[in-house]
Subunit: 157 residues, 2 copies
């Protein structure tokens, strides 16, 4: 455990309008975390944090998550080398979601499938609704089998 | 109800590597949605969608969410006029999160507190960990009382 203390949530005004850091976790003890590339603004992934992952991220300046698939604290990049250095962290109005602007080490990728961003496919909207997804990245940034080896795929059906 | 059909999820390969649109909703029937400003890359909000909100967003090209506080489908901007026009929608690798790049009508704000972005406060990290939150927006973009009147504040303690 680390030393950073969160504030108790005492009022809507405190949560929304003060400088108190009073995060709220859901019924599973988790909070969604948006992680984007600081330089480009591209969203790389949507991860989840428990209280310890949030504390470690804030204290170390490197993104930590909670893996729902593996049910463990997860220092992003510990296996792949693709460490995410936090350039800026922001919390939202009701303090139940966090946004990290990061720089990624190595190839810059953040997706376990091997792409740069987890959001590598477009959903056609409006007049194109109902059309198949469109790939936005032509090729993978790294070979996930070479990087992750026998680690189980976290995607769940 | 609308007409757009989602695909059944049949395999990890289909979900991650195909053009099938096979979204996954959580145990509450919801999926997190990251909404960013198309032109700047600034994240405006983290919302939630149920299946109907996702279908309506894709079919109309305007962001729809599910309000967890009010437990209703929510056409963003219906009350405030701050409609979010979808420039691009993307889905992530395991298809349980969506990212909208939008243009916002009117003042361009997206936060019920009155700020441009819901993420109007920075969490100091690393050597500054434990310091108070820092406001990044000096003043509000609109007056929430004038816009929302008696609508209850959605923030929950």
């Amino acid at each position: 455990m680390t030393n950073l203390k969160f504030q108790e949530r005492s009022s809507i005004e405190q949560v929304e309008e003060s400088t108190d850091f009073a995060p709220k976790f859901d019924e599973n003890g988790l909070m969604p975390c948006i992680t984007s590339e600081a330089q480009t603004g591209e969203v790389l992934m949507l991860g989840w944090m428990n209280a310890e992952a949030l504390r470690l991220t804030v204290e170390t300046g490197e993104a930590h998550y909670y893996s729902r698939a593996r049910q463990v604290l997860w220092h992003k990049g510990a296996t792949s080398g693709l460490i995410q250095k936090v350039i800026q962290a922001r919390i939202d109005d009701d303090q139940d979601a966090i946004w990290l602007r990061v720089e990624v080490a190595g190839s810059g990728a953040s997706c376990h499938v091997g792409y740069h961003s987890c959001f590598y496919r477009e959903v056609p909207v409006d007049n194109a609704a109902g059309q198949p997804l469109e790939f936005l990245e032509g090729e993978k940034t790294f070979d996930p089998e070479a990087v992750y080896g026998d680690v189980p795929n976290p995607t769940q059906l």
